[in-house]
Amino acid sequence: MVTEKHTFCNVCSANCAMKAQIVDGKIVAIKGNPDDQVGRGKLCVKGYSAWKMVYDPQRLKFPMKRTNPEKGPGVDPGFVKISWEEAFKLAGDRFRELSAKYRPESIVVACRPQDFAVRWAKAMGTPNLSRHHDTCYTTHDAMWRVTVSGTARPWTHDLENARYILSFGWDQPSKGKNMAARQYVNALAKGAKAVVVNPLLTATGAMANEWIPIKPGTDLAFILAMINIIIEENLYDKDYVEKYTTGIEDLKKAVKSYTAEWAAGITDVDAATITRIAREFATTKPAVIPSHKRDAGGPNYDNGWRVAYGFIILNALVGAIDRPGGVIFERNMKLPNLDTVFPPPEYPKNTAGRFDGGEKNKLFGSTAKYGNVVLADAILSGKPYPLKGLFVRKYNVLGFPNAPRFVEALKKLEFIAVADIMPTEIVQMADVVFPEPHFMEVEAMSNRTYNAHYPQVAYSAPVIEKLGDYKGFGSIVIGIAKAMGLGDYFPDGVNGIRLMDEQLKANGYSLDQLKASPNGLLGDPKPFTGREEFGTESKKIELYSKKLQDNGFDPFPAWKEKKEKPSKDYPLYMVITRHAAHRMSESHNNELVMQVAPECPVILNTVTAADLGIKNGDDVWVESKINKIKVKAHVVPGIRPDTVCVWHGFGHWSKDLPLAYGVGGNEGDLVYDLSAKALADRKDPTLSGLMSDMCVKVYKA
């Protein structure tokens, strides 16, 4: 007898609503929920395979402490089982000691934004929340914040109503992203034209009307020429620009020298093509440049934030921001946060700055959506002050730039506490481990941000009984805080379930109502009305930002080259992608996923491979200035001959991940981390990393 329970996918932040099919208390499959606006009854390959992780025999099962003081790859931590009380006491005592001995800011809390963790950090008095967004999408987030929204970036596109889709490295369809892939394929079937500018040919480019293999890191030149042509030829949307933007005249002057001929010399795309695409983009309506995370405007190159700003400008020039067929701000419920629902006692004052100096950035600093790029250097250098204790939730070592250096940094810390599901590499470095339940084992709700065309929350029932001695993340944070004597910040009754209930009540619903919903969803479709005002001081989209200028940055995305160019020793550009079935490094021990994507090749052009004496399937070394990794060669014609592409995030050394252990290499080993000074010197208002701004050499292993 099959029973179905409502839940939503927590593999990525799309949170597609799904139904788990259960037989005899065991999940046998998961399906999409047809009433869900995000997934529309389907899931992606990652979602369909997510349930397999629940039954991975390698899952963490109970709290553990380390008995071997030595740490590092190949070192057995000597974990022993302990009780939750002992785990809380151990972490609480150690963090309190470190805080007293070295000051509160010696403790770093590294995890995705989560209300309970933020309160705990503030209660300890540390400003050091470290996050991954600087390796992922801060460029987009910060530029939208500064020039359009005043808050965050939009995550929704209305591609199905677009007639012209121009991608600069935007590649969600080939990465299997459910809502993006569906919309893209449907838009093309309806006759929309797509142009994909990307050094690598993927499904997105293959389906498009044109694939333009641009030279890596030069998209900005293409974009600046487009802006120049569209303004110069008066092709922009006059009504929209006049009504909803500022700065067109300043921008016009600023981009005058960026001609198509100039861009052609930089991008390796001929001037006629650039001109034609500029005209097509401006005259085919609706047109849009979609963006997500690590596209050309992501934190890949030194000029990434400029590209992100360029996307905004071009979308504004054709009236695509918050309009049908364009980039849409999510219409989700406004949920009050923990501190609004349950006001905390006063937090201790600490005037110390962050380890990365990010608070000095008045445009983006307050978001704390950065830090991971600088963390290793801050620990190793002891500057601006010593860091001694670290709490990490689900950030694996392999996700940090220059992962081997991050491991060295971790060895220097006095205490590391980790909350996770699987025994990953970061767990192997931990002094105490807090096991978390899988999302299929907990009650939760999602407000959704991707593809949210109207407010619709999704409910997740605990689909099965917990398979181990787990506590939810909120309870873990509260347990440690209480053991530190910070219980006043988390009095009885302050918990995740009550928070959800209060957040729903603020929107006229309740948790009971959500639980009782027959389709696991709440919220009815509403017709779309585009915004009339935006979140900047001018209430308009700022095409030439005085705010950037006042803070010492270029007021428009002036041309700047990427940092590293091919050299005699490192002659090849490197770009990064991943297989659709993988979610960062989290899926590498998933039995279903590893049957379809068991390896992480380096993709080489046929001609390049022949020159290097490399054949398809050969083991090769890919080497940057800092490290090298051994991977298999995948030789195809669909990549620029001067470029190689590595799949993201293999190279596991945790022996507790038997399917992943020893497979391939971690491209993050090749990526440079930054010091706080190097970050400040770059004059990047978005505090982002340089995740692809390096060149490599490739040779037979």
Partner: protein, 241 residues
């Protein structure tokens, strides 16, 4: 009702949602042995390159080459499917690999651990109960259509016409007169590792891409033949011949 599937490779993004769903539902086979796989094909010379995917699985031929090739008669046409579905009686199967040798599409695979042949069954138990196939249900971009054959062909032909009108002059429906599973492709069948002339095995490109699925060629060749004669002896001994 004559069941069929049409896989629109011009919509397919190569994500493998079909593969993981199928494998999750039919878990008996060993790790890495798959009933449906995703193959990537790239043709041409930079920068004029074509990339396409093919969902590689049993095509449920009207005249399956595997059926007469099976020495123990484990392969059969599913009753009630009007010839559109081909299944293997897994109890009878001896895992000899003759079906692998015979198949022009590279579909079946031998599960060495279980000594069984593994291939798509068209979800016959689902379909005969009025449900759709698991892969068609899963596909996030609607590239897999399941249903009544004539209706599917009409829809597919309309799609091919639209593709041609949009400049994709090589768009075609593969298998209209010969297979239960048909493919909409944009290019020459040989560019997708498909037989160009009926079921001409010689035209197959078995090793299109080692990273897009599983190496299928390993299943055929010397080892398979040795195993075949070994199994025939086993069966004969069992039956007291």
């Amino acid at each position: 009702m004559k069941y069929a599937m049409v896989i629109d490779q011009t919509r397919c993004i190569g994500c493998s949602a079909c593969t993981v769903t199928c494998k999750g539902r039919y878990e008996e086979a060993s790790f890495g042995v798959l009933r449906t796989r995703m193959l990537e094909y790239q043709t041409g010379t930079f920068p004029n390159v074509r990339l396409a995917y093919r969902k590689q699985a049993c095509m449920h031929c009207f005249e399956p080459k595997c059926l007469p090739a099976c020495p123990v008669k484990a392969i059969f046409r599913v009753e009630g499917s009007n010839g559109g579905m081909v299944d293997i009686d897994i109890e009878t199967c001896i895992g000899c690999g003759m079906c692998v040798r015979a198949c022009p599409f590279g579909a079946p695979e031998i599960d060495d651990k279980r000594r069984k042949s593994e291939k798509c069954t068209f979800c016959d138990k689902q379909v005969l109960r009025g449900k759709t196939t698991y892969c068609a249900d899963a596909c996030p971009v609607g590239a897999i259509a399941f249903g009544e054959r004539d209706k599917l062909i009409a829809d597919a032909q309309a799609r091919v016409k639209a593709l041609k009108a949009a400049g994709r002059t090589k768009a075609a429906l593969f298998g209209k007169d010969s297979t239960g599973v048909m493919l909409i492709i944009d290019g020459d069948p040989k560019d997708f590792g498909l037989p160009t002339d009926g079921f001409d095995v010689s035209s197959l490109n078995w090793l299109a891409s080692p990273f897009s699925g599983v190496m299928i060629a390993a299943a055929i060749g010397g080892a398979g033949l040795a195993r075949y004669s070994e199994r025939v002896k086993e069966v004969e001994a069992k039956e007291g011949k």
